[in-house]
Symmetry: C2
Amino acid sequence: MGLTATYLFPTDANQQKIAEQHALGLTIGSWTDIPHLEQEQLKKHKGEVISVEKGELKDTVKIFYPSANFSADLPAILTTVYGKLSFFEGYELIDMDFDADLLGKFPGPRFGTKGIREQLGVYDRPLLKAIFKGVMGKDLKFFSSQLEDLLAGGIDLIKDDEILFENELTPFLKRITTAKEIIHNHYENTGARALYAVNLSGRTHELHEKAEQAAELGANALLFNVHAYGLDALQGLRENNNVGLPILAHSALSGVLAGQAGHGYSYSLLVGKLTRLIGGDLSLYPSPYGNVAIPLSDALAINQALTEENGFEQTFSVPSAGIHPGMVPQLVNDFGDNLVVNAGGGIFGHSDGPTAGAQAFRAAIDASVQKISLQEAAKTSKPLQQAITQWGVIEPN
Amino acid sequence: MGLTATYLFPTDANQQKIAEQHALGLTIGSWTDIPHLEQEQLKKHKGEVISVEKGELKDTVKIFYPSANFSADLPAILTTVYGKLSFFEGYELIDMDFDADLLGKFPGPRFGTKGIREQLGVYDRPLLKAIFKGVMGKDLKFFSSQLEDLLAGGIDLIKDDEILFENELTPFLKRITTAKEIIHNHYENTGARALYAVNLSGRTHELHEKAEQAAELGANALLFNVHAYGLDALQGLRENNNVGLPILAHSALSGVLAGQAGHGYSYSLLVGKLTRLIGGDLSLYPSPYGNVAIPLSDALAINQALTEENGFEQTFSVPSAGIHPGMVPQLVNDFGDNLVVNAGGGIFGHSDGPTAGAQAFRAAIDASVQKISLQEAAKTSKPLQQAITQWGVIEPN
């Protein structure tokens, strides 16, 4: 039992030998110079090269690490498989396959796509998510009015800007109670529910207390900059039953870990598979469309890792940046219809304001479900008509 | 008040404009389209481009971020200055300068070089540190005998292998109590003290409890894979007065954050300046000499950041890998004489065993203090003579 790590190493004629040295060096150190009796004793700790597949620039190397060597937590696992190898130029860690014993130690999402949909009571269309805009330096009145405008436009979810931290004008706890009341009133008036992911931030050792306090005050979702804290911190929050809230994992800072071509983790492993295993209910990452973008192939690989059958709940894919209503057909074409359409500028940039901006998105989402063109849908939606005039329609490839 | 981040961006004719967009985008979003009254209100949150210096391949860009925008913790700070920019290909974060308000929020090392020397009672020479070797799969008897051999050879410090985690054969708490007794006996017999850095590992939310338990049981130092948990986790441990132990920050996994040419953090910022500010008493990083190596310029920049005058205690520099007794003159030449000489293979590979291996190092270290050649010193040290025969002497450049 253990895990198999898949790496890309710069191609080398002696790759098999190099891989075997690493497999030993990262487990029991050496083998051939160990007496036979000791070999028996150490066998269950020995790393093994599973395969070496030659490539043009990089060879694909798979190494097996026995569970006996590490505790079942990601800090130990990542230190084992990549702690030292990360220092080798161009050594990429692109995947990890966990045997059942280890896989069973991960919680997976508490809610996932199914649970989030149940919370919202929305089952039949992509969800619409907005981002608070320009709250920094503004007060709770500004925050409230923005939330009301967005809810009026039909958003399902909303999150803090990931760079909004604890501050005097819109304190963490006040944002929670303020949003709770507004969302509750909105439900009373319209029957529509919404989730607000408040940015859980601050010191590592205070996260659980803050998250529990947030839950107690009625927060209904958390935003978490997981890569500022390490994956294990999110897993701990997911497992804390006194928190019990959906967690939106934000990919901020993951560009340094996965975003540099030819180096580091693959996005599909870090922002896809691992983010799902540790319990992210939603995973937000750069879309391939905006000015902060990742390659389409990476975005699709993340999406697949978040949603493919693996025994855990599915994590909602939230490709973000550069999304306006005219891009909804492209988004659904690329990522499927069980996703979260996430917009900031595409809502706030609408010339008739954020309510119309959200309405335009909802009309575009409905059109995608009804399989009618945006142009057709715009005939009965003035906001969508206006959005198309502003930004045009991107026809899916 | 705030901080100034120094970046390298791929060179661009419009760099000033690009930098200004980032400075706004990462703070208040926009400026020119904001009414004058609001500008007054938002002024104290506005990011500012301090300078743009054109380079051949990269331009050096300095951006100021006001303290008003984030809480005084590294997760918030790093998310602000690099959360989004990390997604831009080739955007490097090479330095951060903190104004006094922020700088004062960092604890710095609890002990540092001065405190560690006081604990050991050794003031006049580089320290010698060993790494347990091949403990994985072995029991406490093996662990004990290795420790005794190394102490007999005159080591000052020893650490677990960073990939030794909680395990049945040598459990965390047992390693602590076993080592404590052996180190105590050694002191009773010889008057020489030693520090053993036990690997503090496992789940993020259990670190403080485990560290406190370790301290209570008489651990006298902690090894911590800080990059598996995030810098802030180490800072929390440093600030916990119920722990109060020297912390050896291990650089495992930092290769993915800082080790890929042209990307990510600079080593001097991550493994140097920030590791010191958060409270690492010792910082272990790859030396420029071994098979797991970083460039000499990076190693020297780390060393400088750990030791230069900045109002905090100095952090011990522990350049590691590829070090044998014949390299001590080179090490002292490169890193100065207030450092930790750290060896694994260079001690255990000695043909007369680890005690002789450690003795050879101590003789080489004494020679460096007395400013005599290793060849000269070897005349009165058989272990050093043997080490020189095995590995030779590297004459400093």
